[in-house]
Amino acid sequence: MRNREIVPFLFIMLITALCGWIAFAPDNTWLGRDVSVRLGLDLQGGTQVLMKADGVVDKDIMATAATVIERRVNGLGVSEAIVQLSGTDRIIVELPGVRDPEKAIETLRGTGRLEFIDTKGQFLNDGTIVRTSGNPEPKMPEVDASKPVDPANPQPTVSAEVYQSITDGRDLDTRQVSLRVANDKISAQPAVSFAFTGQSASDLATFTAANIQKPMCIALDNVIVSCPVVQSALIGGSGEITTSTREDAEKILNQLKYGSLPITLSIESSRTVSATLGANSVQASIVAGMVGLIIVALFMIIYYRLPGLLATIALIIYAIIIYAVHKFIPITLTLSGIAGFILSIGLAVDANVLIFARLKEELRNKRSLLRAVDAGFDEAWPAIRDSSASTLITSAILFVFGNSFGVSLIKGFALTLALGILLSLFTAVVVTRTFLRLIVRNGALQSLWLYEISNDPDLQEQSAV
């Protein structure tokens, strides 16, 4: 009989130990994975980049550019970044805790203009900068005079000829841009698939039909990314760009998927900035969180006695697991994230409170302790299920919207909320229940006082029901 509790108990201990290991991993590495806490700009600071539009641009175009950049930032997997218009022709981007800011910036400022060009049967090397009829004056690479010229990788030159563009980057259907995951040996190369619409699609079909077995070059921002040989006519305007590494494929995906930048941006300055909140206020919030937790624990123990104590242990397990999950995924923590974290403790308590309230009712109805424990959980379950389900629905919808609109503020909130709900379900329904059953079954601690039944001041309330 006891085995029924032993298995879940061991499972809980295993999960807790695993999460404890991640949460308190030495050097913040766990099995070779970096599990340091990611803090947002308000708590940790980051890299601030000031980008300036080339030439004169109007307000709406700048606003569009800022939106595209914001989506790309999210596409990079950087949460809680800031993208802000400054003056009439500048965009400020702040990235929290990015390891390789230069690479991130390169992805952000690429205009993402995809063109197929007619090279009259010529092959062009990857990386060649070309003039196209769509953009005859490409931006020159900035020559870094401090670095010696690498003979193996000389400065790319710009083609003198202006090649005819077959497609217009504006006709790219961004919804159809996706990463093709290589899962067989034949197509082991990573690739990005895409599709054009409108005039570009029919032009592409006409061109490829007329040029089978001839090379056709694909240029992204006037740089040749590949020159595949046309195998068959591209009906429907769709195609693929193959790359040698997955990183390249992801970079191209990011630039194409979130729309092309309507302008060229150059980097005016890049610097490291500190957190907006001082270390004091972070410290103060943590202290406040601790004080709050201790008060909640005391309240639970005083009001619900033994079950309250078990719930407090379950809460500690909850805190360890959720901290480990934040480190593992990783989720960027901002001040509002920490407030959400502390509030989610309320959620975890709520499920316990619902169950204990039922447990008390069952005990008052003179059920045996064990039956009361089971009945308490069973009776409380519909309320927990429906309230959790509706909150999960809310968070799922917020997540999908936040994701598709590239709004990391909303996405991050939804993720924190969903995690809080799921883990509080686990702690209340699995952890607390297992602990209670384990104790009750083993015949220890049977005194009803521990379950706050004798000298109950609320008994009148029950008779009223």
Binding site: L85, T276, S285, D350, S390, F401
Partner: protein, 319 residues
């Protein structure tokens, strides 16, 4: 305790007494939007004789606040000027006044110079919002989508009870109550104590919305259960009343734990978090109130179709 349901118009009146003034302030003054939503100015300051470690973001923020720029967001950084590394600060504030921007700049620079030695204003730019209108709009669309999904879920979950659709609609009405109340209070607080609506406010509002529905469902679940074990002659009003009384300890206890943690944050959590916590406190209290005193009561109103009597004779509150 027995008459919670029979006093329902009193509870509605209390809600209206809080919501209507808020709505008036909201209509008259709107929300005081912070620089996250409204944009403002970006100052780039160089402290020619200091290192980054000498600067304190909170201290600089206080100096800005003392000179007419409350809610300044300060970041410090290091810049190289003529081969020498010096400290700099990037400060986001509200827009400078159109009448005397030079005067305002001078005041700030003088105040900073007193504390930190020579301060140069490297640049001063107007900047747009960090939370784009698109973010706010997509949050609103997502909430509407979530409302529809919750309505469908609750209708299915309460399909064993008579009139399942009513539960979803009443839960959403209670949620609407909380949103209106919080927006109204934010307008009032914005007018009197200068509370600003920022990115944190947006997440606080989303939290309040989800907690409100959460709370209501717990009460509704009891009503559903008691309806299924309905004894002969038991009227709907009594069932709702019993259900509220039965869930009251849980509602109060859960609310207390949230209030404990939030009050701790309010007292010890530093200035920056204060507005966020204040809004959350108001919203969570409103959420609990509306689930007990509005959502469940609306079910009773609907059961009796009481709106038919509202305009027939005299004041509704006497019903």
């Amino acid at each position: 305790m027995k008459n919670i349901v029979s006093l329902r118009y009193i509870w509605f009146l209390i809600s209206l007494l809080i919501i209507i003034p808020g709505a008036i302030y909201f209509a008259l003054y709107g929300l005081r939007t912070g620089i996250d939503f409204a944009g403002g100015a970006l100052w780039d300051l160089h402290f020619t004789t200091k290192q980054t470690s000498d600067l304190n973001t909170e201290k600089i923020g206080e100096i800005f606040a003392a000179n007419g720029f409350e809610g300044a967001q300060v970041q410090v950084s290091t810049v190289k000027v003529d081969g020498k590394e010096i400290a700099s600060a990037v400060v986001r504030t509200k827009e400078l006044s159109a009448i005397s921007p030079e005067q305002q700049q001078r005041t700030i620079i003088d105040a900073l110079t007193k504390v930190y030695g020579e301060v140069k204003r490297e640049s001063l730019q107007s900047v747009g919002p960090t939370v784009s209108a698109e973010a706010t709009r997509s949050a609103a669309i997502a909430v509407l989508g979530a409302c529809v999904a919750i309505l469908i879920y609750l209708t299915l979950a309460f399909s064993k009870a008579p009139h399942p659709l009513r539960y979803g609609i009443c839960a959403l009405l209670a949620m609407l109550h909380d949103v209106l109340l919080v927006l109204g209070m934010a307008a009032i607080l914005g007018h009197f104590i200068g509370l600003e609506v920022d990115a944190y406010f947006l997440t606080a509002l989303l939290t309040i919305i989800s907690f409100s529905v959460h709370d209501t469902i717990v009460v509704f679940d009891r009503i559903r259960e008691n309806l299924m074990h309905r004894r002969a002659g038991e009227v709907f009003d009594d069932i709702v009343n019993h259900s509220i009384v039965q869930t009251l300890p849980r509602s109060i206890n859960t609310q207390l734990t949230s209030i404990f943690t939030l009050t701790a944050l309010l007292l010890f959590g530093g200035v920056t978090i204060r507005n966020l916590v204040l809004v959350l406190l108001i919203g969570l209290i409103s959420g609990t109130y509306s689930s007990i005193f509005n959502a469940a009561q609306l079910l009773v109103v609907w059961e009796h179709r009481e709106w038919r009597n509202w305009f027939r004779r005299g004041s509704a509150a006497e019903a």
